[in-house]
């Protein structure tokens, strides 16, 4: 009993997640104005057909605010995850190829970052940079590379020991030739999957740290801010302010995971058996 072809399902998952994220990003960017409009004739409306996510105490459309906030968070997440992944790539390769000293320095650095809970480290960095958007982006970029760096390091070491690279070396091929011709093609898929799987973490941490009040100001309604404002009105029974934006955030993060896993399945040669 095989339900269709698994690879087609993987591709469908990838397509759907990409479309969803693109729609959120574009729609969010288009609703910058709508998200800001306050209208006291329509405050505190629970979800209805006209305002599917309801409106808040200033009469702002929560759907527009959520989309705007999400698209901002996605951009921040992608940007800092990309920086983080670049750091991971450089440090991972360095620690695998530049000898024992470099390796132990980098592994010490990884332990150092892993030693402080992420959120706390983000708070520290944010405080050091005087809070604000910059602090969040730099904070997330600086804290998310260790796991990917470890992965890349392991991969490079394994590649270096592999017979065909040993043979290429015997044949007198240059370092750069080997790196470009034999190593990169294997490393790139791993790197891309690792990068995509950094997005969800980055977004979750970005939203958490903004939720706590570090980083973005209320004029920049990132999703963390939307939710932290909603918290204040929770006790008064305005459940929709927190429920729908949060659900959409969870769904967005799930979509990033789906994207990463789909890419992994497509790029990983070992998945032929599945």
């Amino acid at each position: 009993m095989k339900m269709g072809n698994r690879r087609i399902r993987v591709l469908a998952g990838l397509g759907f997640s990409l479309t969803f994220l693109a729609v959120v990003c574009i729609w969010g960017s288009l609703s910058t104005e709508t998200a800001r409009v306050t209208d006291f004739s329509r405050v505190n409306i629970p979800p209805c057909l006209r305002y599917p996510f309801g409106t808040d105490w200033l009469g702002r459309d929560m759907l527009a605010r959520t989309l705007k906030g999400l698209s901002m968070s996605i951009w921040i997440g992608i940007l800092s995850a990309a920086v983080s992944a670049a750091v991971a790539l450089v440090l991972g390769i360095t620690s695998a190829t530049m000898g024992k000293a470099a390796d132990s320095v980098i592994s010490f650095l990884i332990d150092l970052i892993m030693g402080v809970p992420h959120i706390l480290l983000l708070i520290l960095i944010s405080v050091a940079l005087g809070k604000g958007l910059r602090g969040v982006i730099i904070g997330v970029s600086l804290t998310h590379w260790p796991s990917l760096a470890r992965l890349i390091r392991a991969e490079v070491i394994q590649l270096r020991e592999s017979p065909y690279i040993q043979i290429a070396r015997r044949l007198g091929k240059g370092r750069w030739y080997i790196a470009g011709k034999h190593m990169l093609p294997h490393l790139i898929p791993q790197f891309i999957v690792g990068l995509v799987l950094l997005f969800p973490h980055a977004i979750l941490h970005e939203s958490s740290v903004t939720f706590l009040g570090f980083g973005l100001s209320t004029e920049q309604p990132a999703i963390g801010i939307v939710l932290s404002e909603a918290m204040k009105y929770l006790v008064t029974g305005k459940w929709w302010l927190a429920l729908f934006p949060g659900l959409l955030l969870v769904f967005t993060v799930v979509m990033f995971y789906v994207m990463g896993e789909s890419l992994r399945k497509l790029l990983d040669p070992n998945s032929v058996h599945q």
Binding site: G115, I119, I123, L124, P200, F211, L212, G213
Partner: protein
């Protein structure tokens, strides 16, 4: 136990000490780099006014302009080791006392969550791994995916909304009833107020350990030695208990010790939502209020816990795995 044990332990301890020192340096550096001047930030407030002369001098000493950063660090670190972590600007108390109170509140929460999520996570992961590809597995995997995509603070909001606001089963916040003397707080009160935050932390903590256990379970169930055990007629619970469990439990416990950092991080968010007066909430307050001494102390205390967990994980690995215990090399 063989003779390499003390060496192993010593190596770990040295590395840990070095890491903590480095973390303190980095933290101190970050705080120094902050454009927010803590004295300035807090001077206008009543905080400074109510401080003793001695306390104020201490502050000047840390943050004063007349000494070099290195000297400042050394004097701060020296005091820290002697047990004087400075004075909290926000709470107007010695940081040691603030931390002692907050930490005991948080520990209560975190230990409960840690144990609960460990047991549940392991059970779910093992169940999923043994039924790979079946419906149970898919449900558990789906649950883990959703949970790891859910920010802890939003889950906290959700539970607060349902159980405290709608159903009214639990209080909306704080670790003790308002207006009750500290001595009048019973254990029951504390548990009552900690249930929701601990529940949130447990729910989020499950996914990591469950996914890991699942992977390990699949790996072990596909291993040569389980295959051989099956060929020798072993099956069901017996196969699980006699053959698979040890190989799965060991890495799971190790991982759980090593993931103390995540529970710590989660508690920062959860405590904020439930206004539970623990270490995490203090960290946020300290960060927002530029209470540098408190923030630094919290960082170092949490780092100590994280490294302590890692150390415990390493030692445990050595105790359970015969290959390490008997002096062989693993793998």
């Amino acid at each position: 136990m063989n003779r390499r044990w003390p060496v192993f332990l010593l190596k770990n301890l040295v590395r840990m000490t070095l890491l903590v020192i480095c973390i303190s340096i980095v933290t101190f550096g970050l705080m120094k780099a902050s454009p927010v001047d803590p004295l300035q930030a807090n001077v206008g407030q009543a905080a400074l006014g109510s401080m003793s002369q001695e306390q104020r001098e201490k502050l000047e000493e840390y943050w004063g302009v007349n000494t070099s950063p290195v000297e400042q660090y050394l004097s701060w670190a020296g005091d820290f080791i002697r047990g004087d972590m400075g004075t909290s600007l926000l709470y107007r108390q010695p940081v040691t006392r603030v931390i002692a109170v907050k930490l005991s509140n948080s520990l209560f929460l975190m230990v409960m969550a840690w144990i609960l999520s460990g047991i549940l996570g392991f059970a779910l992961g093992a169940l999923a791994g043994m039924n790979q590809g079946r419906l149970v597995d898919k449900c558990i995997k789906g649950y883990c995916l959703v949970i790891s995509s859910t920010p802890a603070f939003w889950l906290a909001l959700l539970l607060l909304m349902v159980f405290a606001v709608w159903l009214g089963w639990f209080p909306i916040g704080l670790s003790v009833p308002i207006g009750v003397e500290a001595s009048g707080v019973t254990l029951a009160d504390r548990i009552y107020h900690a249930v929701l935050p601990a529940l949130t932390l447990s729910i989020t903590g499950i996914s990591n350990i469950a996914l890991h256990t699942r992977e390990k379970m699949i790996e072990v169930m596909g291993s040569d030695y389980i295959l051989f055990a099956r060929m020798r007629g072993e099956k069901g619970l017996r196969l699980l208990r006699r053959y698979a469990l040890r190989g799965v439990l060991l890495p799971a416990v190790t991982l759980h010790f090593a993931s103390i950092s995540e529970i710590f991080g989660g508690s920062v968010l959860v405590e904020q939502v439930f206004s539970y007066p623990g270490l995490g909430q203090a960290a946020v307050a300290a960060g927002l209020g530029s209470d540098m001494p408190l923030l630094m102390a919290i960082t170092i205390v949490s780092a100590l816990f994280v490294f302590g967990g890692n150390l415990a994980a390493n030692i445990l690995y050595g105790v359970i795995d015969p290959r390490i215990r008997r002096g062989g090399t693993a793998e």
